[in-house]
Symmetry: C2
Subunit: 345 residues, 2 copies
């Protein structure tokens, strides 16, 4: 049997939201995993019914799908979160505003992504307006205190079904307009005890929520404490640096974990890695930028995803690995700016 | 247009030796390349007729397909080769034996691979026996002096249509039973002037033969000089270390070259890389070895090709990258030995 030909030939084309299609596909697999968390409850049920192991499991992935369930679970575990409240009425929201003050954050518990489904509420009028909007399927309103963070961090771990875990270096993430723009690994000037604390939080969440595969824990660093912002149960944008910057990439460790194989070392191969996202601009032709970017910097790692280019959409990323952080940041920022059309030389 | 879906969906299934199939496939492409040199003259003609650029071109790849044409071309260019002779009769061969003495090497000019099509001729009786065998299509007999080399080297370069070239570190290759077993990058204790000479030879061949893409020049190091053994015009086994061990892998630079994009830096990311081939053993189940190999050494890079396992066939490779050469060699040799069944713990 030629496995290589066999794996390329076996492709199921259909809707990822159709339980029958996904269930049939699952029955042809040894193990199933997801590349995102937008898996409907009906599809999760079809996967459960198929009897084929899938990771993260339905009972774990729900905490990455539903921010309200996530906040409840983490609070029960004693893991530090921003002050939060389930909002079921205008009165709930006004009570919360009185406790934490304006501005605060209002979120839908489900369906948000890259800044969508999140509002900064500046006053009562805006609050009423946002609450008047329809909720996504199975969604609830969740209010959270606005955190005056000094920076955002991400702690990634991989966990296998037998509870073997590895923790990646803790990275610093910088968002622009709610979308991750730059990741630096490891987070500069992070106290080693604080880094260890971030890794402990991620390891504890992975174990307690029985996550199998990659888990990313996005954290607010307030300068005095770490608070959990969000969870992702898959290879995550904050770990793309690991493709070239770590001995074992997050993608390989995700697959090793779901296949119940011993995990690879997450150690960095160089002092610094910098990753920058390429956001779609008005000009849709990314390919023509290749020549200039490659010619200017033959040491960059450029990844374009082949997605349709829309303004603000993540359509690729660039990574540089080395020992001079300032040089790496300049090079990555130039390339992402050039691809996005902000820089023309 | 969703390019990602489009590229996955567009697969042509057919024989690589059928000129019509390959010609039609080519007409659906922007550029075509090969993963091996066993492309028939009829298929090369169909590619030429398609009008689509393909690399290496028909006029270049013939020097990697036909060892007699290669020897003639290199000798014309003044590039050092073992003493050689085109053999058209028993008398030619006897004359050659008188000049260089027994043992010498007899080869078919075409169709050899991994030690096939090559004989060490110990005396007149064996010579007659081998010459009585049928030649492959378009093949000729080629005799070469047996070289008392101290080791074998490989010099890899990438070259673009516009003649941009990059040279990888020169590596040491060790063959067992005519098959590459281990590659060390860079070649240990190689005089920097000798390394530069090897790179110059490879760059000169790439330019003179108009090779586009990757070129590997396999060399005999006699201790006093370098002699060209063979050429490969594609990503080559001696460059697999570059997947994890170089800033830009041979595969990426092959694609950059044929796409006429600026080449990436071939620099190593660490002092040493060691690559070992996994040869198929009598036991066909490689997957069961994963657990032990991964658990014992979480820093190894293991590649299995999904090929049917046959004794002696290259079915995968293992790479380790770091600063302690002896440690890297031990780790790689353990893993390849364990996969092949020679080591059981």
């Amino acid at each position: 049997m030629n496995r290589q030909h066999w794996s390329a030939a076996r492709v199921t084309v259909g809707s990822k939201d159709d339980p029958t299609t996904v269930g049939e596909f699952a029955r042809s697999c040894d193990v199933v995993t997801f590349d995102h968390e937008l898996v409907t409850p009906e599809v999760l049920q079809a996967l459960t019914d198929s009897g084929v192991p899938f990771y993260p499991s339905a009972s774990a992935v729900v905490f990455a799908q539903d921010k309200l369930l996530m906040r409840r679970a983490l609070t029960d575990l004693g893991i530090p979160c921003p002050t939060w409240r389930h909002i079921t009425s205008q009165t709930d929201a006004q009570d919360f505003a009185e406790v934490v003050g304006y501005p605060f954050i209002l979120k839908t518990s489900r369906g948000g992504y890259d800044g969508r489904g999140v509002w900064t509420i500046e006053g009562p009028e805006q609050l009423a307006e946002v609450l008047a909007q329809p909720l996504p399927a199975n969604g609830e309103w969740l209010a959270e205190a606005m955190i005056a963070f000094t920076r955002e961090l991400s702690a990634q771990v991989a966990r296998s079904p037998g509870n073997q875990c590895v923790a990646y270096p803790v990275v610093q993430t910088t968002q622009r307009n709610g979308i991750c723009a730059e990741v630096i690994s490891p987070a500069p000037d992070l106290d080693p005890r604080r880094a260890e604390q971030a890794q402990e939080i991620a390891l504890r969440i992975a174990r307690e929520l029985d996550v199998v595969g990659m888990l990313a824990v996005e954290l607010f660093d307030t300068g005095t404490e770490l608070l959990v912002n969000e969870l992702a149960m898959r290879p995550h944008n904050s770990g793309h640096w690991s493709i070239e910057g770590a001995v074992t990439s997050q993608f390989e460790n995700h697959l090793r974990a779901i296949l119940d194989l011993p995990l690879g070392t997450p150690r960095a191969i160089a002092p610094w890695s910098v990753m920058g996202n390429i956001l779609g601009a008005d000009v849709g032709d990314l390919y023509s930028a290749y020549k200039h970017v490659f010619a200017r910097d033959p040491g960059l790692h450029v990844h374009l995803y082949g997605k349709e280019v829309k303004p603000g959409r993540k359509v690729g990323h660039v990574t540089a690995v080395g020992s001079d952080l300032s040089d790496l940041r300049n090079r990555v920022n130039h390339a992402t700016g050039y691809f996005s059309g902000d820089i023309n030389e």
